[in-house]
Amino acid sequence: MLSGWGGQAVPGEERVGESLEALSRGAVLSRGLGRSYGDSSLPANPADVLVNTRLANRILAFDEATGVLRAEAGLSLAELNRVVMPRGFFPPVTPGTKYVTLGGAVASDVHGGNHHVAGCFGEHVRALRMRLADDRIVECSPTVEPDLFWGTVGGMGLLGHILEVEFKLERIAGPWLFVESEPMPDIDTFIEGLDRVAGAWPMTKGWIDCLHRGRNLGRGLLIAGRWATAAEAGTRPPVEPRNKTLPIMMPNWAVNPLTARIFNSFIYWNAPRGKHQEIQPPHMFFYPLDAVLHWNRVFGRRGFTQHQCVIPRAAGAPAVREFLRELLRLNPTISPVCVIKDCGPEGRGVLSFPMAGTSIAIDLAATPDIQKIIDRLNEVVIAAGGRIYMSKDRFTRAEHFAKMEPRLPRFAALRDQYDPHRRLRSAQSVRLLGDRA
């Protein structure tokens, strides 16, 4: 059985090993640490051969003069950070979990709090070594086979298996962060706030309360950060606490509207009133949820999904407000951890998720009515001209996806060129792109 981060396992098996070149021959999809929430890394058919890349974790070259690093695709950011942070480097872009492989980071073209200044991960990739559907092994980059390269960035592994990734690390002043947080009373203030801090801070994000309506609609915490100077933070290295773990599957009722509301109010009222500044270690700023391994078990056996969308800037605050209102009207079983972020301009990845606007991510329990909820949310997103993030998705309908993605024909043309028989596929590509099952 294989599952994504949202649970709901499907039958299937994966090849595990250290040589991706050997394993990927004849395989239909590569997957890493399985942190995509939905079915992006799941087999379309139990007989499909998948490759698990996590044991292919070698660094092949690291030039400290330039920060350029090349590694096998299964190297995780967790391991990478352990190696490069003490030497004054950090990934140029990191998602909200360090348990993502380099291959996964490219395939999802992950973004982080610095999207408005740094773009997505793919912007920093220099070269990829890939195995294509016809079993050829090729090297591509923004100048060599650029179409293949930009199709693979954010292409969910559907143009080929990513074997090696070469990218440029960011040089950092030190391992600590200077963080400023401020409570936001409602959604309009929040969107203004995100816009304001984006001009002054390299990293911004927001925690948003998606469960309180009326005057409190969209209240939350706006968080901005930058790397702290040695004068601010001192020189001692941060000590990462031992990982806690959620050892057992929680019952399905553990996350319910009441517990979620209580938790939300607790976060909001527990935060300092007014502007607050502090020095934070990187694991607290970038990876707060990684502190508890297997936190996805809190949703119980039914599993969960995430709905992450971006509402374009043109549609503005009214569209975001409308989205939140619709969410409240649907009254789904929702997690207390909703994230809001303003995205910078669209990147070059053909199917890369972000575009200039406001992104909202909500964890939703996979209750019996989840399909209806996702459908309705997607209709609001389509009306606003936005789109969803494939790496989080399990329930979006193909017709909705097509309306969100005018870029699909371009991606299909690339697949026609590199994989005309659609050998490479996932459960998601069957559901969203119409591949045969």
């Binding site: 595990v16 250290e18 660094i59 070259a61 690093l69 391991e79 352990r82 190696v83």
Partner: protein
């Protein structure tokens, strides 16, 4: 530390080599595939904050005639050409694995596996410990297995070879510790590596990184025997005390 690692390109050996490199130890990697050795050498060099240059040489547990030359190459590289100044630590993680079904179906495979995992492993350790003793001692760390703790149905042949190796390592510890040779016998339980790919992981299955960390700690402390992940010490304690009529019944 200057360590030779036989089997450092994959599995637990790779994780041990990565951990040693990350703390600045100098390594020399032995393995079967020259290209794969180069990739692991690059990996260890990149992880090493001292930029310790890593050497490699071919060495195959199926070719015992090459053991002496491989260790000499490691000695020369790590000692900068000065006799007796080479490696102070030898780590052996290489071995063969096959399921009991495969071994029962093929006696030639049985011969190869028992030769590699017992006879040739002992021969390699003999070459290594003589060199270490000649320079006043050092560390020898070798992977046996929990499979050798009891005659068990699913690992009858693999376990027997690993049991023989563990007995040899115990005797080395008894005989040579006073002369400065610190021998650590590692008994890994189920670890999620390429060796166990395709097998269903039991409870308490370990991750290579965590297992490597425990091995390096045990080595630093000079422990003669370590079970890893820790839980397997308890599991095997129980298994060792099970009476035979129970062992005949169960399929563990």
């Amino acid at each position: 530390m200057k360590a030779v690692v036989l089997g450092g390109t994959s599995g637990i050996g790779r994780a041990v080599a990565q951990e040693l490199a990350a703390r600045g130890d100098t390594l020399f990697l032995l393995g079967r595939d020259a290209a794969d050795l180069e990739r692991s050498a690059a990996d260890c060099a990149a992880r090493n904050p001292e930029h310790g240059v890593v050497g490699t040489a071919r060495c195959d547990l199926e070719e015992p005639e090459g053991f002496a030359a491989a260790l000499d190459a490691a000695d020369a590289a790590l000692g900068g050409g000065i006799a007796g100044q080479g490696f102070d630590t030898v780590i052996v993680t290489a071995a063969m694995f096959a399921t009991q079904d495969a071994l029962e179906a093929d006696v030639e495979l049985t011969r190869r596996l028992t030769t590699v995992n017992f006879a040739n492993s002992v021969v390699f350790c003999e070459h290594a410990r003589k060199r270490l003793l000649a320079r006043g001692g050092g560390r020898l760390v070798v992977l046996s297995s929990v499979a050798g703790d009891r005659g068990r149905k699913p690992v009858a042949i693999y376990g027997a070879a690993k049991a023989g190796l563990a007995t040899y390592l115990e005797a080395l510890d008894h005989k040579f510790r006073a002369q400065g040779l610190v021998v650590t016998c590692v008994k890994p339980g189920f670890v999620k590596t390429s060796m166990t790919a395709g097998l269903k992981p039991p409870p308490f299955a370990g991750e290579p990184v965590a297992v490597a960390h425990q091995i390096v700690r045990a080595m630093d402390r000079g422990k003669p025997l370590v079970y890893t992940p820790r839980m397997w010490a308890l599991v095997m304690l129980i298994i060792r005390w099970l009476p035979r009529f129970v062992m005949r019944k169960i399929n563990f």
